[in-house]
Each structure stands twice: as structure tokens, then as C-alpha cells.
Amino acid sequence: MNKSTKKLTLWSAAAIVGAGQLFATAAQASAATSSYVTVTYTINSIQNLTHPGDLSGLDILGSFDLASLDNNPYQLITGSGSVTPTLTGTGSSAVTGSYSRTLQLDAGAENWSSVSANYLAWFSLAFNNTSATDSYDVDLTLSYDLSAAASGNSAFSDATATFYNEDSSFSNFADPAYVQAAAGVAGFGAMSNSHGFNFTLAAGEAETVYVDASINATMAPVPLPAAAWSFLIGALSVLGLKRNKSACQSV
């Protein structure tokens, strides 16, 4: 028999509540992750270089949603696991001063359950100069916060953000942002940064600043106390089966 299949069946049948719970979390799970990416565009100034004060020719549109791709979002849950994405204010909307959106992913799993999830969201702020005669100068700040947290055991989450403009010409876009959290190893990671941009759009020109951000949550908690992990040279499933039986008997 396929050993991994057998293992998964036992996990979903066991549903050990409370046993082996190492960290108190709101979800009462044996592993939990919580991660987010917040993107904020702040328009510092817009100037009509041709007819000062007339901002009517510049359309500014903010957009935020899950990327429309195959395999997105992706999740694979076995047993008692959950994945909770939070995206508020999805879709497109006109923007004046600033535009901020957050992709958040919370996940949890009980012992013997597993979660594997990947969510990719696309953020953008698009400037379209619809005027036939005027040029506009735009001063923009893009700031972002990434955060990843993982608790319990055998839990991992990371967040990646990549940045670019319409023709990939903005040179300070070179590096992606990345944070990760691995329970029991380094359970929290966060970073914040911001970039300033200044560009001019002639009549009929357009520019968009994009942020693509993905969050991954992977966990497969098991009810072992931390000290026993240093002896895990044997087959995990064999050890787990024995533990399972004795736990049942004690209940």
C-alpha cells in the first residue's frame, strides 16, 4: 500500500483536539500562519505643465485583485485545515490622493492535517493623459509592507513582491521584496520600504506602476514535543502511528 496515502487517511480520521497544541492561537490550530502585503501609492503632486492647475485631462485608476491565471489561487488542504484570504476593495476605482490595498492570507491546520496555499494578487496605479495638448508631471511614492508569521510546528509562510512600470524603465525597481517565517526556526519576518518616482506624461501618454505580490502558506503539523524532533531519523509515519494509538488509548 502507498505509505503516504495511509498516513493521510489516519490524519483525517484522528482529529486529536487539543493534544500537542503548542501555541495558543485564535484558530486553536496546531499550526498557523498569518501574512500580508500592503501596497500604498501616495500621489505627492500633479502639475499640468501646459495649463497649470487644470488636472482634468489626467485619469488616475487604481486596481487590485487576485491575478487571473491558471492555478491562482491555489490550495490543497487535507484534514482539518483552513485557508482564509482577505482582499478588501478589489476591482478598479478612480484615485485622487492615495491608494492603499492589502492582500492578507491566514491559514491554520490541526495535527495530522496539512495546508498548501499560494495566492497571487496584482496591484496597480495607472495614469492616463487623455488631453490632446497638455503635459503632466507626476510625483509619486510607492511604499509597501510585507509581513509573515508562522506558529506551532511544521508551518511556513512567505511573501514575495515584484515591482515594475509599463516599460520596465524605472531603475529602482530592480529588487523584489521577500519575507518569510518558519515556525520554530524564525517565526516572524517583516520589511517595509518605499520608492519615489517622478515622471512626465505628454499628451496621450500613459504610465502604470505595478506590484505583483504572492503569499504562500505551507504546514503539516504533528503532535510531537520539540525535544523528540532531534531523534527523527526513523520513518515519521511509523513513529506517528504508535503515538496515535497510545493517544487513543489514553482517551
Binding site: 502507498n2 505509505k3 503516504s4 491575478a67 491565471l69 492555478n71 491562482n72 491555489y74 490543497l76 498548501s116 499560494n118 497571487l120 510546528n153 511544521s154 511556513f156 512567505d158 514575495t160 513582491a161 515584484t162 515594475y164 520596465s168 529588487d175 523584489p176 521577500y178 518569510q180 518558519a182 526556526v185 524564525a186 505595478y210 505583483d212 505580490a213 504572492s214 504562500n216 505551507t218 503539516a220 504533528v222 510531537l224 524532533w229 532531534s230 531523534f231 527523527l232 531519523i233 526513523g234 520513518a235 515519521l236 509515519s237 511509523v238
Partner: protein
Amino acid sequence: MRFSHKLIMGGWLLVAQAAIAHGPRTMPLTDLPVPSVPGLVDGSSPIVVDPQMAVALGKALFWDMNVGSDGQACASCHFHAGADSRTKNQMNPGEKSSQATGQTFDVLGSGKGGPNHTLSLADFPLHQYSDPFNSASTLIRTTDDTVASAGTYAGNFQGVNQFNGANDVCDRSADPVFHVGSVGTRRVEPRNTPSVINTIFNYRNFWDGRANNIFNGSSPWGDRDPNAGVWVKTGARTVAKQRLHLENSSLASLAMGPPLNASEMSCVGRNLAMLGRKLLLRAPLQNQKVHYQDSVFSAMGLTNSTASEAKAGLNTTYKAMITKAFNPKYWSYTALGPFGAPAPGQTPYNQVEANFSLFFGIALQMYEATLISDQAPIDLTPRDAANDPTWQGMGKSVEEIASLKRGQAIFEGNHCLICHGGPLATTAAISSYSTVLTPTPGKFYGPAHARIPYGPDAFGNDGQAAYSGLTRFGNVVDRASVADGSYKLTDVGFANTGVANPLSDPGLNANDDFGNPFSFAKQYVQYLLGNNAGVFDPGIATQRSCDFQYALSFDIDVGAIFPGYFTAFEGVQAEGSREGVTLQQDCTDPSTAFIPTVSAANASLTANPAALAESTQASFKIPSLRNVELTGPYMHNGGMATLEQVLEFYSRHGNFVNPDQNEFLPAISLATSAQDRTDVIAFLKSLTDERVKYERAPFDHPEITIAHGHEGDETSVTAGNAISPVLGKEEYMVVPAVGAGGKATPIGPFVDQLQ
């Protein structure tokens, strides 16, 4: 009219190989340049953006028992001066053999053998004569079994755990070859484990040269593999598989092998993306204690240990280390893209997993590049005006110094330098040697007190390096003389010394997974024949025959075919003329700077078959003699336990006289004087770096637990391994963590482990 053979030899060959010192001398290794890898850390888009982190990643991967399917790390076989000193369950039946005996185990000198046998002194040498100095004396015993390294239980791979447990989920059963009774034992791989130290200098690696000089990112085969490549983020939302061609990266190529090999580290059917899935979210060295003064990890704040408490693991994950070390274009693609999935219904691979072969190979190469043992006595000794060691001021007695000097002279006088030449004591270090042989004003190598200028005399006055076919141009092909007196095209850095029956292991004379030969000499023959489809590796077309030890062609018409050579009678052309370049400058012998025309080459196959003959059967990469004191057992089959046995082998001119055996074996005169052999061994021991002996930085390392035989012996093994009840219970060797300062007691030679 035919010229006499002797006249031709005198006119067109190098100085006759008399019993004088000749060949590239054992110069210091200090400052010998590591071969450059264009694009790795330099250029507009380097592959590695944080070299220090890449080295740390490589050290972790090298020592991590989670890499194997059942507890094997690279270091499980490369832990003792970079090699393997284990004695139990180390026998392979000779599986490289083309004969049926390669599948069965023999009884060794102790009266025992096979799986779970504990080696003893009585087992060595594997090929033993009644008089070890005389190969005409009675042969007491021989075997095609090899003394090698125990590896994995293998089995059919099914899955990995991403967080805990060293073992993969595999369908396990008792191996049909490696078992005692019905109890399965760990498989043993077929060739003796060479040391990993100083291997960054080898142009190719593995005993048979199959670890290609070019790294393609996903397999060992370099440019030969049409499917190899790495996934590169090409635009904001695009990713594409691209070819990779990284020069002088044979160690990265090598790393693609053992973690998937079913004798060494892995269940059958695993791939490197799956290994990535297993490792990426884990802490490196998860269950292995790391020394609080580890020379790599402590400096970077990666260890959890303190002076009072040794702890396991690094305080990060493999994925975090990769995102810091490598160019984001190899890992920052945000979608679950076209990378495939392990199996239907399983989570698709992400870019980091899909490129894990790239990260794995390069990190390991960068760590292994730090393992250079250039502080041996031979490197530290003061040198006289002729650049010979004086051994003064090193605490050696007058007798010791005399012995060292005699030993070096005898080593040189017996032609050992022709193969074991230069600072690495092997001609396999083609690229680095060619760099220092290039006249470069202002460039020197060697220790501060004995700087040696780059140029043709870099390995000894009067162009000693050229005797081995080594020049600034870095030929990988040569023409050498073999046992039957004929001259044959060979691969530089490889030799057949007649250690074993040539049928027991073909060595270099084998093919890759695509059916193409490893040998450069064979590819050169195809080039000469005008068959460019038979050339797979770069550089073949620019080989310079004017630097060969023995000439191939000369532009003189002797009026008839001259057997074994090309002459103007059949048709020759200037070297490089096919490509429209000049390759005739700075020749060792300019009168031989010719190759046959394509039609002459093709005609020779029937009319003059000796001309394009090549010699590769049972030819093996020449090992470095650095730290040889510590790296027994010796030879590709591990057939000799002591340096004394090695010198006895050479004294009797080898074990198997065969057509491809190197010409110099019969010329060795070590049999008559025990003092001579003692002196040579003293010289060989001067190649041992104290830091290797005491495992001081960079040779310090984390703790590792290594499988060392099974409970029981070769007649009975206790079943009931935790991995599977049909496998034998393990016995272990624990090698404690060592910090930059090294151990208190030195490691010793292999023979000290034998009863």
C-alpha cells in the same frame, strides 16, 4: 625511402625520457589561481549576488543528512580528509565490470568478505603476490570486488516530508545484491571515494571524467544534455527555460549525480526539484549540532549554539539562504508557473523548487572551492635559489631533511611527475596550470618567501611542464606512449597504471546517458575525421598537437605512409587552418603543428590505423597526492591500504600489464631499495596540510552521524531497522562538530582503522 625510426624520434620528439628528473615539479599550491567561472559572481547579471551566503549554503548542504533519502549526506562519504575511512560494509562486488563476476562477492584475504564485512589488514592488497615486488611470483589472490563507500538502501521513491524526518517515503525491500540472508544492507557504490579537497582545480571530476567542465544547471552532462536548463524570470510576468553554460564548473556538474544515485544517496526516481521541496522550508542541519565557532556559520551569525550549549540547526531556512545568495531572476517569479508538478493532484512546483538543481550545484561548488590545502610542509618550506625545498627551520632533524630530499629526487627520477605533476600532484588541474604557465609580467604564485613567476618554467626550469603535455594553452588531449610501445591519443589528467583487470572497470572508456563517449581523445579523433557531430564538449577543435608528448603529424613527405604518424605524403594541414585561425605559435615543437587533412584522417582508418589510435580503456583520473597520507584506501578500487602497498604496486610495475598501461610503469626502479621507498613515503607525507589533519578552518564542520555497518557481521544481520523491518539495524559512527580551531587530536591514515 624510410627514415629510421630512431632518427625520426630524435628529430621530432621531445628530449628522450631518460632516468632524469623530468615533468612538472611539486611546486607550492599557495596562490595557485582557482579556475575562473565567468558570470558566476561577475558580469552584468551574476548568478550569485552574495558569495559568502552561497558558501554557507554549500557547507550546510554538504554536511546535511536530510539531503539523502535515508540519512546520507555528501559528507557521509567525504568526511575524513575529504574521503572515507570507514571499514564496515564497504564492499562492492565489482559492478562496473563487464564480466559476470562483477555481480558476486569474493572471499578476501581475511577469509571473509561481502556485505557487512569488517575490513582487516589481511584483506589488503586486494591483488596480492607472494613477493610483492615481483609480478612474476605466485599470485596468492585477486578479486574484482572494490573497497568503496556504503550509501543508501535505495527503494522506489514515493514522496518527501517538507518539515520533519530525514527519510523519504520509499518502497523499501532487501536489495538483491546487498543483503545478508534475507536482511537488506546499505548498498555500496562501485568505486573508492576520492577526496573532495582541492577538487576545484580538476578540469573534470569523477574517476571517469563524466562530471563535465561545463555546468548546464540541471544535469552532470554539460552541453551534451539537450534538455538541460534553468528557469529565468525574463520579464515582469514571464519566465522561460534557458540554457546555462558555466565554465570551469565541474563540481556543480558533479553535484547533480550523488543525490539522485541509488547506490549513494537516493531512492530510485527522485529528482532535484523534489529534493528542493524536501529541504527548502527546513532549517539547514536541522538535527545536527553546529559548533559555536564554525568558521563559516558563526561569522555570519547563523548558528544557534553558544560556548556552553551546542545546538542543532541554523537559525534560518534553505529557502531564505537561497533568496539571499542568488540573483532574483532565478527565484522571484510570483506565479505557480509552467514548472510541472511531482504528480497529478500534488502542489505544482514553484520557481525555487524548479531551479533547485542550480542552487544546489553552485552552492556546493562554492563551498568546495574553499577546501584548498595549501599549507602543507611542501608549501611552507623555505626554498633555495633553484626553488628546491630546504626544509630548514621547520623542526626537522638532519636525517629527516635528508630523507625528504632523497624522496623527492627518487619520486622525480621515477617519472612520477609525468602524471602526479605540479602543485596538485596531478595533471588533471588543466585550467589552473595553463594560467600559471602563461607568461604574465608581474604575476606570481607561491608563498611569500618563494614567489614563482608565471611562465613556461612555472613548474620547473627548462619547461618541465611540457613533458606532461602541459602548456599555457591547456590541451585536454595528449598523445602518450603505452605499454606496447605505440603512441596513442589520450586524455590529459587520466592514466591506466594496470591496477585491476581492464575488464573490471572501463573507466574513461564509457559513455554518457546519450551514448556519447566521455573521452576527449575520442572526440578529437572525430574532429580530425571531419565528423563534427561527434564532438560534444567545447575546446576539442582548438587542441594543439604541437604540444603533445608524442607528435601526431609533420609536414614532410617521406614518400610512403609512415605507420603511426601523418605526413605530407597522406596530407596534412596547419593546425587551426580548418577554422581559419593560427594555432602554430609558441609550440613545444613547431615542426609538429599540423593535423591530417580530413581525407587523410579518414583514409588512415584502414591504411594507417595506428595513427588515430586512442587509449582510454581502464584509464582513470589521476588523483592528487595532496593529503595522500590520510586518504586510503588507494586507487579507484580501494585495493591498497597503505602507502607501502602502493609503492610495492609501482615497484612491481603494476598488477595487470595491458595494452593501455602507461609507458613509464616498466621504467620504475623502486623494488631494490627499501630506503628509497621509505624516503618517497616521507616526501609524500610532506604533502599533508596540518589543518586537514586537525580539521581546522576551512576543514571544520558540523556534527554528522554516519551509518557504519549493521548489527551483526557478514554471516548474520539483525533485522528491524526503523525505516523498514526487512532492513538491517544500523550501527553508527558519530563525528562531533568541530570549530575553526580544529580538534585536539589529529585524524590518522586509513590503516589505523584496520584490525
